[in-house]
Amino acid sequence: MAYITLFAILALVPIVFDDSFLLNQLSRYSVFAMLAVSVSLVWGIGGILSLGQGIAFGLAAYGMGMTMQMQFQDPITNPIPSFMLTNELEHLPLLWEPFWSTPLGLMLAWLVPVTFFVGFGAMMFQARVAGVFVSIMTLAMLAAWYSMAYDMQPFTAGFNGISPPLPFSIFGVDIDPYSPLAYWICIGFLGTLTILTKLLIHSKFGLIVQATRDDAERARFLGYNVAYYQVVVFAISGFIAACAGICWVMVVQYVSPTSLELSMSVSAVVWAAVGGRLSLMGAILGAFLVNGIQSYMGDELQQVWMIILGFIFIGVVLFLPKGLISIFEYIFSIFDSKIIKQSKNQTENEAL
């Protein structure tokens, strides 16, 4: 129920505040929150510390960037993006052809990362790779994709990145990154994904996934194909990260290898860890809180803040593995038991 309150509050923001810069900021935070939710699902619930959620984020981001770029191009007068001309390409590469069509482009933006996650996940989990080895493999794979995006300049515009000149347009509507519409789309994605994920966690599927996290072998002996479950949860987390990537480019109108940087993927882990990896609410609040504080520090304070964040992160890992939200949960549980005690006393008194 707290979730509904949160999303209701978030949805009301554009009505209360008329600040388009703020809206864009909050849209960005909701993208980060989606990434944090994806981490919370795969790590908190699934027990898989993937440092490569950025792969799905980045691939989807590039897909969206390519779609948006091609919306700008015209097949007859202006068929090739300018950065390609700078790289001496004469024809649009085959890779880019599907992105003429917005629906197809969008579909690919989702499909490619999720398919990759299914394949990559299957490879890892069939081999029963677990624990830190998964982290290292996802790390290496992320670094590999980063190199690809950085290097394939004619295709990806290299380190400069792709900057579609126009905002994203769908069903004839231009989605201005600074508008309430863009904001509501992001919040809409965040809300829907969060609620669906919560339902998933509370289903028997979610319970089994947590069982595989606690003791994969025991789960196998109960008849569960653990690798299959792990691939599914990994792929779903990739889907969420892909949604984040798509919203990201819609909101910042730019995609570059930065989306595939290690710091992005690990930051998502930091937000989820600080907020609370076992709780989607915690992950979302962690993302909003950390990024919010970060933006409101000036440049100089920013450096100090990063150090403080580092220490907070270490502190959380050492002492509060369930994240900051566990403090709230603890306080609530004290209230709860006090209230129960009180009503018990009352009924006892009445009985006398």
Binding site: M123, I136, M141, S147, L262, G310, V317
Partner: protein, 300 residues
Amino acid sequence: MSVNFFWKAFELYPFLNALFIGLSLASIWFIAAIGLAIIYGTMGVVNMAHGEFIMVGAYTTYVLQSLLGINFFICLPLVFIIVGLFGWGVERTIIRSLYKRPLDTLLATWGISLVLVQAVRLIFGTSPLYVSVPNWLNFQIDFSFLHLSGLRLLIIIIAMGLFFATWFLINRTSWGMRIRAVMQDKEMASCFGINTDHVYGLTFAYGAGLAGAAGGLFGALKTLFPDMGSGYIVEAFLVVVVGGIGLLGTVFSATALGELNSVFSYFTNDTFARFVLFTLVVVFLRFRPQGILTDGLKRR
């Protein structure tokens, strides 16, 4: 996309030169990875801050050299001790409480790396700094197919020396025997009176010190900047996981990876080579997660 776009034609001398560059890369990766391998092998700790220990070593060398005027070659052992002490402190405070939680150790060390990068940024700013080598090292070998700088040659020699020194330390000293005992079975080792806490602390310090000294060396190769650790960490990890737990494995995997990178680089270019290399490692790990030489020992 034509074939010529990617692949350069094969020419003997440049190719042989690429092989030597591969050796240079291998030696760099070996030195970078050996500290990590020892820490991982003995303690099962994945130290995500390893790259930053290297970076701190580089900056410390800079300070010792330019502010205190200490000779480059004396800086190296000094930095080894300084960063080693720092590592020992980190182990005592943070790592110690996380032994049963390997994923949390990974995260905590990542936190340490964040703090280190930021701290260095704050103290030194982001403008590039330089560590310089003594003049007599500033030569270039230009001999038919071989183009190698003096510093790189030195690194290759140091790598070999380090290998022998570590081998000697682990296999021929009583200290090394204690490390090996703890590596095999911590509880058993402590039953035999080995102070395992002590061993862990010193092992971590040794690994950190090696990273620091590596930083001193590498700092002379390129400019110093706060993020430089990230350029070593992934490669170091890959060397360790491909090599498995063991000194010989680390050597083989560093050599294999270094040469492969260089050869791919020769035919295509550096970043694409990296992509292919990382993908190959991922596939390799799927089929042989225990590494090249370890024979199916329990993976931590």
